[in-house]
């Protein structure tokens, strides 16, 4: 889907509950850190933006250099955030929808269970 991407799920109290470096680009530690910094900073924008629209998918809300942040805000104000460098909006949107579905399922089966988390992780990696 994307050459560089970082996916993170942020709970409603701003705690990251899931993070994954996805995409085909070679993974570098400092890059992964920068991705997290960008996503963390984008929360400020999501915070304001989420209340101005009824859409769940907020595309390209923030960018830094070539990295673009797209966010999917669930009804429970959990934020699925994707940092990517290509503008494949439809693909990202469907990715978000699938992840949301998975997230609800896993949530239902209690995220605390490590098996479910593993399944969740594998599914997300697969979707990329």
């Amino acid at each position: 889907m994307a050459t560089t991407a970082s996916f993170i799920i942020v709970s409603r109290n701003d705690i990251p509950i899931y993070e994954a470096e996805v995409g085909s680009a070679t993974k570098r530690e400092d890059a992964a850190q920068l991705h997290q910094f960008v996503l963390h900073a984008a929360l400020d924008i999501v915070q304001d933006l989420a209340w101005t629209t009824s859409a769940m998918f907020l595309k390209n809300i923030d960018r830094f250099n070539d990295l673009v942040v797209s966010v999917y805000v669930t009804a429970g104000h959990t934020r699925l955030m994707l940092l990517h460098d290509s503008r494949n909006d439809d693909g990202i949107k469907s990715f978000f929808q699938e992840v949301h579905e998975l997230y609800i399922k896993v949530n239902f089966l209690q995220l605390g269970c490590s098996v479910h988390v593993l399944v969740f992780h594998l599914s997300i990696v697969e979707k990329n």
Partner: protein
């Protein structure tokens, strides 16, 4: 790019403020802050300094409402290549600051100032301000009035007014210079160039183009000066012309500049009423500005110079403008974000790193303004990274400072920056409400932030920049935060690296440096140990004389190990500490990291200063926790709080608050914090302990006890009696004025004597004095459980420990107190409360070994029949006056226990048989003694208590053997059978019914029985001795009680009637030897008499009968085969015996056949009273009461 740009920047006159001579930094800062107050000078105020030389080009100057604005640049700035393009970039004035006290030579100062001014060629006005000159300098300085301005010493306000005047003067001269410049420019025209203009040789076409453009540029510049002169309307007019000209010539760059100027003029003109329409206008115009700056981008010289920075500046200016409006209207935030994001995008193309730095700084500031803290932190970090790319110390310091600002957004801030500035903290000392709030904040932040990756990166960058900047304390603090908060995410080598970073930083710090951020170890409160039992404190109330009563705990345990670990108790109770007496607090340390941690010193923190804490040093191996005891001495009276510990570790002193760790553990329990440091060290979970309120009281006496002969356990056999001596000494500083001994715990009655008086007599016990109290101890009986534990002889010594755990030892409680009014000031401070008393708990460490044991006790009846003799039977009863005449030998005999009373007969002689066994490995000697009532036996040999003791020869029982001891019970008989006996027993029992009649209910009989058994048993004592110094008494009470339960009546009470037989015939018969004087011959008339004694206090009427039986038991008086003839009456003899008297009845027997005969007297009592009935245990009142005497043997000898 320039920092801090806004739309209004275009109308500000730049003034360089330069220090001249030596000006101390703080003084310079003070002077500069004075300048800052005068950044706006109203035009109305400068009119007195203003003289219009020519007609002013600023025709529309608003003299009433307008103003001139200054922008002060401390230290000045290098000239900008863009000065021609934007006139506000020029430094138009230079002001020198001279601090006269540190610069005595004004001449050289003026020279120095003049030299400094040379680099500011654009400066129109130069002034040197000399502050605080002395008198000579005042005089001297007056001569150089053209440049030098002297500010005589004055108060701050006067100085301020003086400075204001000077600034107005500067404003006026600047205005006049602007007028001159504008007039000159309009007439002559000037060549205005920017770096954008091609430097290469111009072609003729380009020269022509440049000429055309010159006019527009001049108009723009004039507009700039109009703006600086505070005349926006004039500026606007010039800008409009410039815009037209620039558009015509395609000079987009200058067009954009003129447009910027016109927006500024617009804003200045309408500064008082900015509305939405104006906002939209500004927005529109500025977007236009940005667009035209972008248009002016020329590919040719893009490598060398680019208008990009102007585009970005314009973007920032617009963003800043929107930000200020944003404060009123929030919906502008999206536009601001858009602008800033595009500005950040543009930053990539900036050539100069410094420009990018300024850009990111500005972006971060603007994001901060609209409340996007995380965005601001992000760009601040970008700034810091740019700084870190420059390899110098100052850049690193800047990076560190910028990163320090981001710590709040990333929630890794240093404690020093958190609650309030540290200097105010030092002054006031943290109050408790403050720390409570802070902790709440901390907890919330714990729950909110989990971006551990970011947090670690930020802390690592702070550490890096601090190391580079050479700030060891900041480096230490960052490393400490990193290590303390993220140790689970750091590999052991990383942890080691941090530890060495801490140590390296500490080496550069002066010793004794404090840091607000604690590093390792984690410290939590473990418990407050209760006072050792030697030092218990008891509250005294002034109203209660015996304050110790009720203070003892109700349960059997005075001091149990359970109460130690009971934090609930600890939290509720108030701790009382005593001035001058060491106290202890247990804390637990944890080192969850992979290196050996050495805590150089750790001690309790008490802010009030009324506590001397003793530091200790601890070594913590990797991944370990340790409970340590911290002690100290309270030094003054009053409440004390212990918020935490002060730790000296990794070379820096830090304060560890217990609450922080509590919060951390709370977070860990909820899964919000990475790890529980104590749990990962294998320490057990501890319940939350709240710090109890501790109060310190004035010095109290302190008794210290020890048992003479060693404090080890005293080994005693069961029943052993021993004296021990307890020494009490006063180790406190106050005398003991009251003292009271009481007993507690199990087996209290094993302490036979307590020296109350000895203790009383030594009071008051001065500090250092000692008293020895003798105690007599009697070892108690071991229960069945104890037997199991200590039963084996071999295990006897090993079982001692277990016996102490049973808490079966008796405990001596000594309550004592010092003087009730200690010193006047203390009592007045604490009201009327007395200083508390203390309790010394002294468990007597006695180990009881199984000793002689009683296997069983039995009541034995024996029959040793008496022979009828001539002698008069001796009455038993000592109150009988005849006893007086009894021979000495008889008295001797009486002293022996086993004797047969010939008068009483031997029928029903009762013995108590005690079967004893010796399971020990020593030999015991048993002695039985019986105490007789002193009142009855007062004429016998008496003991010291007035009672007679009958001693037995000692019985020796070897190890593993058993023996039996017989105790005759005859001596317990009462002399008289009457109701007073019952009465007395009831009185002894404590019964209130003293007016008892002679009727007895069954219940009362039982009670009477028990009472009499008790008194009987208490008189029998079985003492033993083993070796030289072990002696004791066997507890036989229970066993004897059971043995005697059924037949105590018979043992205790005399029969109502006693019978005896006697030969009454003449003793002169020659055949009779003295030895056979009591024998009876067959075929001989034998006169006899029967003696009947009334043992009651009533006259008894009876019908007496005498029977005689032979050896076969046949009645030989009556019947067909009777072998005995008789004379006199033998049956149905009616007798009346007066109380306590005896009566005789004589008769004669004639035995036909020699042999053994038995004579028995019996009587039926007529008209028996209740006492007799009770004695005979009759069921119904109609039942006849039948009394039978003991059998008497008669041996009838043959005549042959």
């Amino acid at each position: 790019m320039e920092p801090d740009v806004s739309i209004e920047t275009s109308c500000m006159i730049r003034i360089a403020v330069l220090p001249v001579g030596t000006v101390p930094a703080s003084v310079l800062r003070d002077y500069f802050s004075m300048f800052l107050r005068h950044h706006t000078i109203p035009l109305a105020a400068i009119s007195s300094f203003y003289t219009e030389h020519q007609k002013s080009p600023f025709a529309q100057q608003p003299w009433d409402a307008g103003s001139i604005r200054f922008k002060f640049l401390l230290g000045g700035a290098p000239p900008s290549p863009w000065e021609d393009f934007q006139s506000n970039r020029k430094i138009l004035a230079v002001i020198g600051i001279c601090h006269c006290p540190s610069t005595p030579d004004l001449d050289s100062a003026v020279e120095q100032f003049a030299a400094a001014c040379k680099s500011y060629s654009s400066a129109l006005v130069q002034r040197c301000f000399a502050f605080c000159p002395c008198d000579s300098q005042l005089e001297d300085g007056g001569k150089k009035e053209d440049v030098l301005r002297l500010f005589p010493p004055a108060d701050h306000q006067t100085l301020d007014i003086h400075l204001q005047t000077m600034m107005q003067e500067i404003a006026a001269s600047l205005l006049m210079d602007f007028e001159k410049w504008v007039l000159k420019a309009e007439s002559a025209g000037t060549i205005l160039k920017t770096p954008l203009d091609s430097q290469a040789s111009l072609s003729s076409e380009e020269v022509l183009k440049a000429k055309k453009r010159r006019l527009g540029r001049a108009q723009k510049t004039i507009g700039d000066y109009c703006l600086l002169a505070g005349s926006p309307v004039d500026a606007s007019a010039h800008y409009t012309t410039a815009l037209e000209l620039a558009r015509l010539t395609g000079d987009f760059f200058w067009f954009a500049g003129a447009l910027e100027g016109s927006v500024c003029a617009l804003l200045m003109d309408r500064v008082s009423h900015i509305d939405a329409v104006l906002e939209d206008e500004v927005k529109y115009q500025y977007n236009n500005v940005i667009l035209h700056y972008r248009k002016s981008f020329i590919q040719d010289n893009a490598q060398r110079v680019s208008p990009l920075s102007f585009e970005l500046e314009a973007t920032l200016k617009l963003a800043r403008f929107l930000c200020s409006s944003y404060l009123c209207r929030r919906n502008l935030s999206k536009e601001v974000v858009e602008l800033l994001t595009s500005a950040a995008d543009g930053g990539k193309s900036l050539i100069d790193v410094n420009d990018r730095l300024v850009l990111f700084v500005e972006i971060a500031r603007l994001f901060g303004t609209i409340g996007y803290q995380r965005k601001a932190a992000f760009f601040s970090r970008q700034v810091a990274q740019l700084y870190l790319q420059q390899d110098n110390k100052f850049a690193a310091t800047s990076a560190m400072q910028v990163l320090a600002m981001t710590t709040k957004a990333y929630r890794v801030q240093s404690k020093a920056s958190m609650p309030d500035p540290p200097h105010t903290k030092k002054q006031t000392g943290p109050s408790h409400t403050d720390s409570g709030k802070m902790h709440h904040h901390l907890v919330v932040s714990l729950f909110e932030s989990q971006w551990s990756t970011l947090q670690m990166v930020v802390l690592r960058e702070i550490l890096l920049s601090a190391v580079r900047a050479g700030d060891p304390l900041a480096a230490w603090s960052a490393a400490a935060r990193l290590l303390r908060q993220y140790y689970p995410l750091i590999t052991p080598p990383g942890q080691n690296g941090l530890a060495s970073a801490l140590n390296n930083s500490a080496e550069r710090l002066p010793s004794g440096t404090r840091s607000a951020d604690p590093a390792l170890p984690f410290v939590r409160l473990h418990s407050f140990p209760l006072h050792p039992s030697q030092m218990d404190i008891i509250k005294r109330s002034p109203t209660k004389e015996d304050w110790w009563a009720g203070s003892a705990p109700s349960g059997p345990f005075i001091y149990t190990p359970f109460s130690k670990g009971e934090p609930n108790d600890t939290s509720k109770q108030e701790l009382v500490w005593i001035v001058g007496e060491p106290v202890q607090v247990l804390v637990e340390l944890a080192n969850p990291c992979g290196f050996d941690l050495r805590v150089d010193s750790i001690y309790l923190t008490v802010h009030s200063g009324s506590f001397d804490a003793f530091p200790i040093s601890v070594d913590l191996p990797p991944n370990s926790s340790k409970v340590i005891t911290l002690s100290g001495i309270p030094t003054s009276v009053g409440p004390i709080t212990i918020p935490g510990c002060t730790v000296h570790c990794f070379g820096v002193i830090t304060e560890h608050h217990f609450k922080d760790v509590d919060n951390l553990l709370l977070g860990a329990a909820q899964g919000l914090v990475l790890s529980d440091p104590f749990r990962c060290c294998g320490s057990a979970k501890l319940r939350n302990i709240s710090v109890p309120s501790i109060s310190v009281v004035p010095p109290l006496p302190l008794l210290v006890s020890h048992v003479l002969g060693g404090d080890g356990a005293i080994m005693l056999y069961e029943g052993e009696i021993r004296d021990i001596w307890v020494s009490l000494s006063n180790a406190g500083t106050a005398p003991v004025e009251q003292a009271h001994i009481s007993l507690s715990g199990k087996n209290q009655d094993s302490i036979i004597s307590i020296p109350y008086e000895t203790l009383k007599s030594v009071l008051p016990l001065k500090p250092g004095a000692e008293v020895i109290l003798p105690l007599t101890l009697k070892a108690w009986q071991l229960g069945p459980m104890d037997f199991e534990i200590g039963g084996g002889r071999a295990a006897a010594s090993g079982s001692t420990g277990r016996q102490f755990k049973d808490a079966s030892v008796p405990t001596l409680l000594i309550h004592y107190a010092g003087p009730s009014t200690d010193s006047g000031d203390v009592t007045s401070a604490t009201g009327s409360t007395l200083p508390p008393g203390r309790r010394l708990v002294l468990p007597l460490q006695v180990c009881v070994l199984p000793g002689m044991s009683l296997i069983k006790a039995r009541l034995l009846s024996m029959e040793i029949p008496a022979h009828i003799g001539k002698a008069h039977p001796k009455p038993m009863h000592e109150d009988d006056p005849t006893t007086e005449t009894v021979e000495e030998s008889e008295r001797k005999m009486e002293k022996r226990l086993v004797k047969i009373d010939p008068y009483r007969g031997s029928w029903g002689l009762r013995f108590l048989e005690l079967e004893l066994s010796n399971p020990t490995d020593v030999v015991f000697e048993i002695g039985v003694s019986v105490q007789l009532d002193g009142t009855d036996d007062n004429n016998l040999s008496t003991n010291q208590d007035g009672s007679t003791e009958y001693g037995y020869p000692k019985t020796r029982i070897d190890r593993d053997y058993s023996a039996r001891v017989l105790v005759p019970l005859e001596h317990f008989k009462l002399p008289v059978l009457d109701d007073s006996f019952f009465m007395r027993d009831f009185c002894n029992e404590g019964s209130t019914s003293s007016s008892r009649s002679s009727s007895f209910s069954e219940k009362n009989t039982k009670a009477e029985l028990n009472a009499s058994i008790k008194s009987l048993i208490s008189r029998i004592k079985v003492r033993w001795q083993s070796g030289r110094n072990s002696s004791g008494e066997l507890n036989i009470k229970d066993a004897v009680h059971t043995a005697l339960q059924t037949s105590v009546m018979d043992v205790l009470l005399p029969d109502p009637l006693t019978f005896g037989f006697r030969l009454t015939r003449d003793n002169s018969s020659p055949q009779q030897g003295s030895d056979s004087k009591d024998s009876v011959l067959a075929n001989d008339m034998t006169p006899m008499e029967v003696l009947v004694r009334n043992n009651t206090k009533e006259m008894i009427k009876m019908s007496l009968g005498i029977s005689c039986r032979d050896v076969a038991g046949e009645n030989c008086i009556e019947g067909e085969k009777s072998t005995v003839l008789w004379a006199g009456v033998l049956n149905g003899i009616t007798m009346e015996v007066p109380p306590l008297q005896e009566s005789k009845h004589t008769f004669s027997l004639y035995f036909l056949v020699p042999g053994e005969y038995t004579l028995v007297a019996a009587a039926v009592i007529e008209d028996a009273n209740d006492v007799l009935r009770a004695r005979a245990k009759t069921d119904s009142p109609d039942e006849p009461i039948y009394c039978r005497g003991p059998p008497f043997h008669v041996r009838v000898l043959g005549t042959a």
